[in-house]
Symmetry: C2
Subunit: 113 residues, 2 copies
DNA sequence: TAAGTTATTAACTAAATGGTTAAATGCAAA
DNA sequence: TTTGCATTTAACCATTTAGTTAATAACTTA
């Protein structure tokens, strides 16, 4: 009903698609044009263009014009918050497991920051 | 058109909603029933129940029956892969920034594992 | 057994998503 | 200035998502 507009939701949402993760992987090997990015996929260029727009809205890529090409570049800044969010809970989880291993009391909880 | 069924997509997709992240945060302070989880939200219990089903399908929570209550528990296992994926690219990005700071050649690329 | 509590499921709705093909845009080159 | 290439946008479609209310299920307790 409503689109989630907060940055963290946008980031996770952008990452929740294998095609988009693949595009980011390609871009991690260096900048590329839309055509180059589209090449490995059996999907119209228009579809890839839309995926790139999702990534751009999430600020995970930037695009610069160069004649009739758009050169895409990976932008990792939004990953920092995502990484922190996931890591906090990953560590909490691993902590829980550790507590079980050591026969300590379960579900001590986690602070709220 | 098709639902993304791979685990990583399911995980990111589940995290791409502030309500669901909030539910996980609550659960990180200890197990809770659906009613307890629903309480802070101005949303029907049915809606929360659906969010919990998304989290359950993504294996981010488990539920056990206890009389007429369902006790929910945070399950962090799927976060490991998500964490690794995000961290790999976060580190790559921070590396890129570092290279710029040090006036080294830009876009050296990133290996493919 | 009847009534109340907790939660899920069903049926419905509006909007978002992910794809298509076709048209439009912007630039380069003949 | 026409042609061609790279890309985006428009219009469309089917599916999914996120919510609603109402009905149902499962269990407790009076």
């Amino acid at each position: 009903m409503q689109m989630n507009t907060d940055q963290l939701s946008m980031t996770f949402s952008a990452l929740a698609d294998p095609t988009r993760r693949g595009l980011l992987q390609t871009l991690a090997s260096g900048q590329a044009t839309v055509g180059e990015l589209a090449h490995p996929y059996s999907m119209s260029m228009a579809a890839i263009s839309k995926h790139l727009k999702v990534l751009e809205n999430a600020k995970l890529i930037s695009r610069t014009k160069e004649a009739q090409w758009r050169r895409c570049k990976f932008e990792g800044a939004p990953l920092k918050d995502a990484s922190q969010w996931v890591q906090k809970y990953t560590k909490f989880w691993e902590g829980q497991l550790g507590m079980l291993d050591d026969y300590l009391i379960e579900s001590e909880g986690m602070n709220n920051d």
